[in-house]
C-alpha cells in the first residue's frame, strides 16, 4: 500500500512534469492524497487526466461567474479548482455556479472541499447525475459508487453553497434541550448567595 505521503509526493512531481508550476503541483499533491483518504480514486483520475493533456494546454476560467465555460475546450479541474479557492469570497456571493464541460470532474472535489472550509459552509456538488456534498474539508458525502468511478468529462458541474441552517425542527431541538437540562442542579437560596463569584447586585 502506498502511504499518503508517497501519494502526495508522486502526485506533486507528476503535476509538475505535466506542465503545472511547482506551486500548483503542491496543491495537487495535497488534494490527491486527501481524496484518496476519502476513498475516491484520485490517483487513477489524475493519471488518466495527465495522459489526455500531453498535447494540449489545460485552462481554467479567467473569472468565476455564475456560468463558466471555455469556448473551444473543456475546463481543467485543477485550474478551475484553484480559481475557486483563490476567489472564495466571490464564490460565496454567487451561491450557485455552473461549469460547462469539465475534464475529470472528480479531481475538482478536493478543491471544493477546501472551498467549503474557507467559506465555512457545506457545498452541494452535482456532476451530471452524481451528487456529493463537501463538508468543511472534513468529509465528502456521496453515493457509494463514486468510489469506483473514473469520470473523463462532465457536461455540467453545478456547485451550490448551502447556507448554515439547522436540519432539525425547533420542536426537536427543544425536546433534546429539555433532556439535557436533567444534568443541571436545582437552584436554592443558598446557592444564589454562595455558588458564584459576583454579588447579587453589582452597582458599584
Amino acid at each position: 500500500m502506498q502511504s499518503s505521503s508517497e501519494i502526495n509526493t508522486v502526485s506533486k512531481r507528476a503535476a509538475r512534469a505535466a506542465g503545472y508550476s511547482w506551486g500548483i503541483a503542491e496543491e495537487v499533491g495535497k488534494c490527491i492524497s486527501s481524496i484518496e483518504m476519502f476513498g475516491i480514486r484520485g490517483v487513477e483520475n489524475l493519471n488518466n487526466y495527465f495522459k489526455t493533456i500531453k498535447d494540449i494546454k489545460p485552462e481554467g476560467p479567467k473569472q468565476i461567474e455564475e456560468n463558466n465555460k471555455l469556448n473551444d475546450k473543456s475546463l481543467c479541474p485543477i485550474y478551475t479548482g484553484l480559481k475557486l479557492i483563490d476567489d472564495y469570497k466571490s464564490v460565496d456571493k454567487i451561491k450557485t455556479l455552473k461549469f460547462i464541460k469539465l475534464d475529470y470532474p472528480l479531481l475538482l472535489l478536493p478543491f471544493i472541499n477546501k472551498l467549503s472550509y474557507l467559506i465555512g459552509k457545506r457545498i452541494q456538488v452535482t456532476i451530471d447525475e452524481i451528487n456529493a456534498e463537501c463538508n468543511l474539508n472534513t468529509c465528502i458525502l456521496a453515493d457509494h459508487k463514486i468510489k469506483s468511478l473514473i469520470i473523463k468529462k462532465a457536461n455540467t458541474v453545478i456547485i451550490t453553497i448551502l447556507e448554515n441552517e439547522d436540519n432539525f425542527s425547533s420542536k426537536t431541538w427543544n425536546e433534546l434541550y429539555e433532556i439535557s437540562t436533567e444534568t443541571f442542579v436545582e437552584e436554592t437560596e443558598q446557592s444564589k448567595q454562595t455558588g458564584a463569584g459576583a454579588g447579587l447586585q453589582d452597582n458599584d
Binding site: S3, S5, E6, W22, G23, E26, D86
Partner: protein, 551 residues
C-alpha cells in the same frame, strides 16, 4: 524591574554561516528521546545470529500501553560492495522500527523487504527504516581484541567513535512506512524524529551485542565482553549527504519551530533576574567537560578545522577575559554574559555558549521541547483575498537582505537543485556546466523571492488572486511569504543556489538539532557525524541524568 529581551533577529540568525555554527544542546532530539523514554522497558527479544554475526535480532521498548520494536537483519557483505553512498544497494545491516512486537509472519515479510531498503516495501505497521555499514577498521579490531581476551584500544575507539554508521534513516511515509498522522497523537513521540532517534539508539545496542557474540563464537573460552565504559564511549556514526539539505527548505514551519524554541529558550534565560550560584557553577562545569569533545574532534576537513580552531580560541578568550572574573552578584547575569559573547566571539563561540547556557534549566527546556513539532498543513493555504501591496510590504519586512541580492549575475545563479533519477535523492549541480537545470527543484528561494518582489512592483494594490492567476510560476513562493509572515524563523535568509553556498552548513544545522557531535565534513556536500557517544546503555537508561553527552 524586569527586562523584556527580544528574540534575536531572523535576518541575522537565519544566515547559513550562522546556522552552520549551531551545536547540540539540551533541546537536541537525541537527548530529548532519552529523557522521554528513560522509564520505558528495553529488552532483547530475539537474537538469532550465526557464528559470523549474520541473522536476525529484535529489541523492544515498552511501557504499559505500547511497544515499539527494532528488527535487525545482519547480512554478509563483501568489502568491495561496502559503500556509504546513497547509490549503494547492499549494507552490513538493515533495520526497521515496527509498531508493536512483530509476529513471525511480520519478521518474514520484513526479511524480504528491509534489506532491500528503497526498493523493498514496508507497511503502515513500520515507522522507520535504516541501514548501516561497519567501520571495518574498528569492528575488526574490536572482534580480534575481544576474542583474544583483551579490551580494544581505547584511543582508536574514541577517535572513530562507533562500530557502525548508518547511511540513511527514513520515516514518515517513505517506502510504505506509516504516515506521521497515524502516530502523531502519541505523547511519547511528540517531538521531531523521536522514532528515528529510537532506531539509532537501539541499533547502537545491537552493534555491541553483535561484536560480543562474534568474539564469543570465535573463541568461547578466551573471549571477553566489550567493557561497559568503552561501550558507553561508542555511539553510532552517520554519513549524511545532500538528502538532508532540502529538508530544511521544504519544511519551513518545522524549521521555524526548531529555531524559535531555541531563541525562546535563550530569551527566557537572559530574562532571569537573579541567577543562582548553583546554576552558574553548573554552566562552568559543563563548559569544562565539553572541552573534551572539542579536543577530541578530529577531521581532515580544512573548512571544519578552521571552525574548530575558532571555537577553541573563542572558549579560551571567554574563559580568560570574561569568565574568570565573573560572579553572579549582578542582576540579569546571563543577559550580560550573552552580550559580551555576542560582541567578542565568532559565531562558533556564540552558538556554543548559547547551547551551554541551557544546561542548568530543565524547567525552561522541558516546557519548550514539546513545541518542536509543527502541523505544517495549517500554513499551507494562501490568503488569496489579500492584496499585492500587502504582499510586497510583507516581503520587504521579512526578506530585506534577499531583495537586495543581484540575480542578474551568473555567480548568484551558479547552482541548481535536482532529484536524481537513480535513487530519487536531491543533488546539487552547476547550472552552467551540467545538464538538467530545466528540471530544477523549487529550492531557489532567494531568487524566486526577488523575482516575486520585482513582479509585484507592476501591480497596483490588486487582488492577490489575480496576481496568482497571471503568475502561476510564483505560486510556491507566495505561499512561503505568508508562512514567513507568521513564522519568522521559517526561512534561510541566504542564497541557496549561489556560488558561495556551503551545503554542509545546512546539514550541520539539522544535525545539531539531532544532537550530533564531531561533524566531520568529507567535502562541501557530505559529512560524517557521531550520535549517542557517551549515552547510557540500554540496561541503564533509567539512570540517565541527561548530561551523558559530556561524559
Amino acid at each position: 524591574m524586569t527586562i523584556n529581551i527580544q528574540h534575536r533577529d531572523p535576518n541575522q540568525i537565519m544566515k547559513l554561516s550562522r546556522l552552520g555554527c549551531f551545536h547540540q544542546s539540551k533541546l537536541s532530539f537525541l537527548r530529548s528521546f532519552i529523557r522521554e523514554f528513560k522509564d520505558w522497558e528495553f529488552k532483547s527479544e530475539i537474537f538469532e545470529l550465526d557464528k559470523d554475526g549474520y541473522g536476525t535480532a529484535v529489541y523492544s521498548v515498552s511501557n504499559k500501553e505500547r511497544t515499539y520494536s527494532l528488527v535487525c537483519f545482519a547480512n554478509k557483505l563483501d568489502d568491495t560492495e561496502r559503500s556509504d553512498r546513497v547509490i549503494a544497494t547492499k549494507w552490513d545491516a538493515a533495520f526497521v522500527i515496527h509498531d508493536g512486537l512483530p509476529s513471525k509472519d511480520d519478521i518474514e515479510r520484513l526479511r524480504e523487504n528491509v534489506p532491500k531498503q528503497e526498493v523493498g516495501r514496508c507497511s503502515f505497521k513500520e515507522l522507520a527504516l535504516s541501514r548501516a555499514n561497519r567501520s571495518v577498521r574498528v569492528f575488526n579490531h574490536v572482534i580480534d581484541s575481544l576474542s583474544n581476551g583483551i579490551q580494544p584500544n581505547k584511543k582508536l575507539l574514541t577517535e572513530v567513535g562507533y562500530l557502525y554508521r548508518t547511511t540513511a534513516v527514513y520515516g514518515s511515509g517513505k517506502f510504505g512506512l506509516a504516515d506521521r498522522y497515524r502516530i502523531k497523537d502519541r505523547p511519547e513521540i511528540n517531538g521531531p524524529f523521536r522514532i528515528e532517534m529510537m532506531l539509532v539508539y537501539l541499533v547502537r545496542q545491537f552493534t555491541f551485542d553483535q561484536v560480543n557474540h562474534i568474539a564469543h563464537k570465535k573463541s568461547p573460552n578466551q573471549s571477553v565482553k566489550l567493557d561497559l565504559e568503552l561501550s558507553r564511549q561508542l555511539g553510532i556514526g552517520n554519513s549524511t549527504g545532500l538528502g538532508m539539505a532540502p529538508f530544511i527548505i521544504n519544511h519551513p514551519a518545522l524549521l521555524h519551530q526548531w529555531i524559535y524554541v531555541r531563541e525562546e529558550a535563550l530569551k527566557q534565560i537572559r530574562e532571569i533576574k537573579n541567577v543562582s550560584n548553583d546554576d552558574f557553577e553548573m554552566f562552568k562545569k559543563f563548559l569544562e567537560l565539553s572541552k573534551k569533545n572539542v579536543n577530541n574532534w578530529n577531521t581532515n576537513s580544512e573548512f571544519q578545522n578552521i571552525k574548530i580552531a575558532q571555537l577553541k580560541e573563542d572558549i579560551q578568550k571567554f574563559e580568560e577575559n570574561y569568565l574568570c572574573n565573573m560572579k553572579v552578584d549582578k542582576e540579569y547575569f546571563w543577559d550580560e554574559l550573552y552580550k559580551w559573547v555576542e560582541e567578542n566571539l565568532t559565531h562558533e563561540g556564540v552558538e556554543y555558549i548559547v547551547s551551554l547556557m541551557m544546561e542548568p534549566y530543565d524547567n525552561i527546556i522541558s516546557l519548550l521541547v514539546p513545541q518542536m513539532s509543527s502541523d505544517e498543513d495549517k500554513y499551507f493555504d494562501i490568503p488569496a483575498n489579500r492584496t499585492t501591496d500587502e504582499l510586497k510590504s510583507s516581503i520587504e519586512k521579512s526578506y530585506p537582505n534577499i531583495i537586495e541580492m543581484d540575480f542578474s549575475i551568473d555567480k548568484s545563479n551558479e547552482n541548481f537543485w535536482y532529484i536524481s533519477k537513480n535513487k530519487e535523492e536531491p543533488r546539487l549541480a552547476s547550472r552552467f556546466e551540467e545538464p538538467g537545470a530545466e528540471l530544477e527543484q523549487p529550492l531557489a528561494i532567494a531568487r524566486d523571492i526577488k523575482e516575486l518582489h520585482d513582479r509585484l512592483s507592476s501591480y497596483n494594490n490588486e487582488k492577490l488572486s489575480k496576481f496568482l492567476q497571471e503568475n502561476t510560476d510564483l505560486r510556491h513562493i507566495v505561499r512561503r511569504c505568508y508562512i514567513v509572515e507568521k513564522l519568522p524563523y521559517a526561512e534561510i535568509q541566504d542564497n541557496s543556489i549561489g556560488s558561495e553556498l556551503m551545503p554542509i552548513d545546512m546539514l550541520r544545522l539539522k544535525l545539531s538539532f539531532f544532537g550530533a557531535q564531531k561533524f566531520d565534513p568529507r567535502s562541501d556536500k557530505w559529512l560524517r557525524i557521531c550520535m549517542y557517544q557517551g549515552a547510557p546503555l540500554m540496561h541503564e537508561i533509567n539512570k540517565s541524568n541527561d548530561t551523558w553527552i559530556y561524559n
